[in-house]
Symmetry: T
Subunit: 146 residues, 12 copies
């Protein structure tokens, strides 16, 4: 089983940017730890981050037929990008939407998501732990576990 982890704009700043809000882990550390957790569960994890909406769309297209599920923290694009929504629907790969911070406790414009209604599920607010929870949730659904 193969899973793709996508991170959108500004998530490359993790650990550097507002640690009180997002935690002290860098994105590399999170990706490494999640890769290990995935391996323990027999899952091969690939990772991609970009500040470019188009690059994220391109990467999703490449995943077509190559991965069984996607974990996506689209950052700010969650709230503005219909192109990402269409890319995910176009390749028809199940995905989980995740956020480090609790988006419901932030600005009103972060309460709308162009991805959520097409996701398996959404996880928001657990800091770096959101990644592991999202991986587990994805696997539970793909494997039909309760």
């Amino acid at each position: 089983m193969r899973v793709l982890l996508l991170n959108g704009p500004n998530l490359n700043l993790l650990g550097l940017r507002e640690p009180g809000l997002y935690g002290a882990d860098t994105l590399a550390e999170i990706e490494q730890r999640l890769g290990a957790q995935a391996a323990e569960r027999g899952v091969e994890l690939s990772c991609f981050q970009s500040n470019h909406e188009g690059a994220l769309v391109d990467r999703i297209h490449q995943a077509r037929g190559q991965v069984d599920g996607i974990l996506i923290n689209a950052g700010a694009l969650t709230h503005t990008s219909i192109a990402l929504r269409d890319a995910l629907l176009g390749v028809a790969i199940p995905f989980v939407e995740l956020h480090l911070s609790n988006v419901h406790a932030r600005e009103a414009f972060r309460h709308n998501s162009y991805l959520a209604d097409k996701a398996i599920g959404v996880i928001s607010g657990f800091g770096p732990a959101s990644y592991e929870l999202a991986l587990q949730g994805l696997l539970a659904r793909l494997r039909g576990q309760p």
Copy 2:
């Protein structure tokens, strides 16, 4: 560490009601399994379900000073009950909001939550697995784990 699991209106129908949407597990089975998972993590889990908003408020009040965290699937009350919000704020116990189904994919009136902005985080859409993810998320935050 003690955790309280709260389930709101109609969740006693689980396993009986729309299994395509909510899964085939009964609430008793979910509570039992989650209790076991909690015990493995050194957590004592107590459970309460009610179709009465007032009874849920009363139960939250009783939890004051008795539990370290709350997992709450408030069902329909998520979208209509400010009293639950006030009860959770009044006892000042950290809580996680969870849903079996993906509320973002349902009626518009289910997109608003009176609890979410005051929760640690929100988990939605993973069926019965949402409960275990919520427990893990709560513990990760309470224990300061990444």
Copy 3:
């Protein structure tokens, strides 16, 4: 054929409260007359009134597999209770929504119903006669009559 009549908050005041708006019949008189009309049509009618949303939800759950149709005058809860909606959907019993007064002629917040789009039909404005019309409408639909 068995039918359950549900009345929500404040309908126990019928006959006492604003007779100009709701008529002079008490709820007991209405229930008795409707029971007789049901019996004439070969229908067994049971009745329940409560001012507690949770008690109404509980009663609907008990009706699961026990009745063929529900008549519901949810009163103020029509406009505020998603829990009642979920209960009715959860037990999958056909129901008719009814009102004594014409809700369209009253405050704007009474124009929304959380039940109506899932009901067989809605009857509003005929005073106590609304109950008999609702019973007939329910039976016509259940029996496939024109």
Copy 4:
């Protein structure tokens, strides 16, 4: 006692159009059956259908002083015609608004009615049976029956 039954645009297609939604009866059959039911109750029923708003307004004007009540299924004009509202108010004849389908379960623009707040009451969703229920409801109110 004389009653006028008005049907608005497209109701002449009844029985031909979307029978799953509106039933298999033609409008002529419905009018004939309702006429018989009215006669049994000592009521003389006259019927008029038009696809023209203006013709419906003209017919309402003719009814001034000639009928004791109106049953109106204005179809699409329910949601768009203030002229019909003004005509009904202008002749000051009590009326009942009725619909074959449950308008609350359809497009949002069918949830508004320019007639409902001035009607005695509204009946929606019972298929052809809506007509008989509306007649009964009108008579109950005109005759002061409970």
Copy 5:
């Protein structure tokens, strides 16, 4: 100078309908009096009333090149008919919008007009006198009087 007076749906009921709101004059009396007032000012007045939007549109088309100005009390169509707006713009004849009652003091849906922003001016609330004021206002503008 020739002027056309147009009256929309239900204005044929004038004098019969809600005299407290619209006055006791019939439309024929108003037309006659206005014709006389027009004649005194050297203006030939023609009059047309219909309950049919299409007939009003047709009549406006006929006026093309035949009249110098239009007085229009479109009644309920004021608030719902874009076709009337387009007809008036299509024939490019200056017009005054008028109302017997004060539309600002009535239902919210009467506060919007599809004609007003393209009219020379609007007169509302003076009962039958609104007609004479509208005629004077139209003439003042057509003749460039202060």
Copy 6:
């Protein structure tokens, strides 16, 4: 019979300001001409203009028991001043609202009036002629003329 003419902010610029929109007459000329027209009709006209909302309110208070009707072109205050509304209601003097330009053809924020629903009627768009029309409309109503 005594009538008070009130003009609000910026109307002292009349004749100087945007003559294409408001006409070339100065306010003094308009007041003089209207005074003459009033006199012909046996009416004593007093006039007041101010750029100060408070001064207009004060002037309305002074009119209490002194005048039979008010003509008011409140200018920009039409859309922003509840104090003027309260003043007019407080002295209980019938009034007509008038505008030189057609407010419906201007910015959206000019479409709301805090005065209109309490006025006898509204006249808008006839340039300086709006004043005379308003006077006539007021007199027709006060004198019960058709």
Copy 7:
């Protein structure tokens, strides 16, 4: 003269919950002090608190014909319960709405009240003193004092 004091959900936490926001007095202390103040004014005060909407509705029904006025701090139900509104209207007892905190300074969803437009008056923001002010305001109105 008899007065009923009603407190809604979470007000039993008073003194325990957010003292900075609500004060350090417990509800029992407030009720006791208000009872004494009432007695000084020749008024018999009875008190009831519940976290259950239905129980509050039931209590209001019991008050019918038994009390001359009601003081109600409905807490969160102020903003969500039409059933409470209907209960208060149903028993036709004059009431005053009160709040400890200034609801206008809190979340937007606390700015709407389903009770306020039917209350004698509203008092908000004076902490425990709101109760005494509400009692005085009620008595002033019931006794016609300035």
Copy 8:
């Protein structure tokens, strides 16, 4: 293959009305040219224009079982007529919505269409050429051409 061309209110003014906006062709010329283009493609074209909503509804009903597709430029009724929508759905004939002018560049109330979501497709802004494009689009879809 038979196709019906429908034109709504004011389109009989084509060529006469605002040629800068709608072109210099009369409707007769457009119908004639389109008839020739249809004939070249083996299609029999019939044409109907009316300023009456009801007449358009009647004509659509007559088309039931008689034509394979409809081209409709409903003019102002596009934005106001649910009756036309229901007529088109009632006869279940595929249709294309077309406009001479670009409705998106005009008043906001022209941005809504009651027909568009049920049409095969929509063409707007190409002047008289919109008709030929609509015919081609309809045929491409009916014949399954790319």
Copy 9:
């Protein structure tokens, strides 16, 4: 302790204007009575009324450092004046907002207040008694009384 009582536009009409709504007391009587009540409580009361927003702002500025609290019935300016809000914030004097009538039972535009969220508290609906209640509420807060 010094307190300033401010009254806004039209409150000089008190006792003259709509006594059914506002009571029969004149403002002078209310000020006199409140002054006496203040004196009993060891408070020096000064009073100011104006129909001019600017004059009220000026008076608030003069109060800077001179008074310990403000009672303000801003009348219509409550709903329209940000300048008053800024003045009160600028001088940083605690204030209570009060109204004679119950603003929640009046027009929708009276439901918004530019002052309320910055006030200690709000009192509405008790007629002239609102002044005394406001004074007590202010003192309770300033003196830290329960």
Copy 10:
């Protein structure tokens, strides 16, 4: 005459993605066929597709002074990109907006277009045929054909 065809995000998936919704043609096939059709009409067609908003903006800039018209299917960017709008206005090249699917029959957020009001016209819903219709529409307008 030179024309540029622009395709936005995810249109490179054509033929692969949701053929029921978008048809079985690949983008290369569509471009090739359209190129041939253009050539027949004496038009040189160049094509560009990108998933990057910035790349589309860059390409539009390059077209300045190089092409006579643009056909643009901006996909998801239609609804979110003001930058594309500004680019098209900046180079001042006439353009036609086109869509494969009927956007009016899809999610509400697809009903808004940042391009449409500045386009010559819009074509939506004809599958791959939309491209040819758009080309014809563009040419008709550029060449002044009816």
Copy 11:
């Protein structure tokens, strides 16, 4: 070249009021410094501050034909005064709108300006430096400097 500096309500409190938000300079100091800066640039600066909307309107009228440009910090009136807008348009003098604080970072009701769309430009957020920037911006535009 002559320039008028206008300051609206509460700006006389500058230096006294919330220095953290508005800076420690008094208005007199700001006016003096700006006068000197203007003089260096060959500009004669006159200054006026008032808490009265009417006085500001009067002052703008006096400026007609006397000054070449206006700098206006209307304070709270920015968001509420259409009269100021009309005054500025009436005298047709170019103006710059300025604010000390960043209005976009404050309450939502400060995000609307009745002046901004008619200003040359807007400057917001630079504290007392906003005045000098506004002067420079005005001069750059009046003198056609880049």
Copy 12:
């Protein structure tokens, strides 16, 4: 002191595109002139323009710890890009938002900015001079100048 100047989509067209709206200067000329002005003030200016949101985000990230302030004219992205907002917050560098044209005088969708509430201040409408004003405003704030 180092300052970064960022220009967003389509600003590379400056001088070429709509000179009436944006001025005749090219971006290179503006950058050169601003660099000189910066140098005079002892500031080192670096410049970057891109039509790609992602490239702008990347460039902001590079500026972290390298510059003391940012001047940003984000063009169309001002109104659509939350990613830019997050980038600016992520690097925690003070910034000024600027626009050549007066955005308040343009389309409604340009009135919202995702940057403004986090900026030091905003400058809009002064053409190329906006750049110099923004530089001065930034320096005044960074250096604590009045």
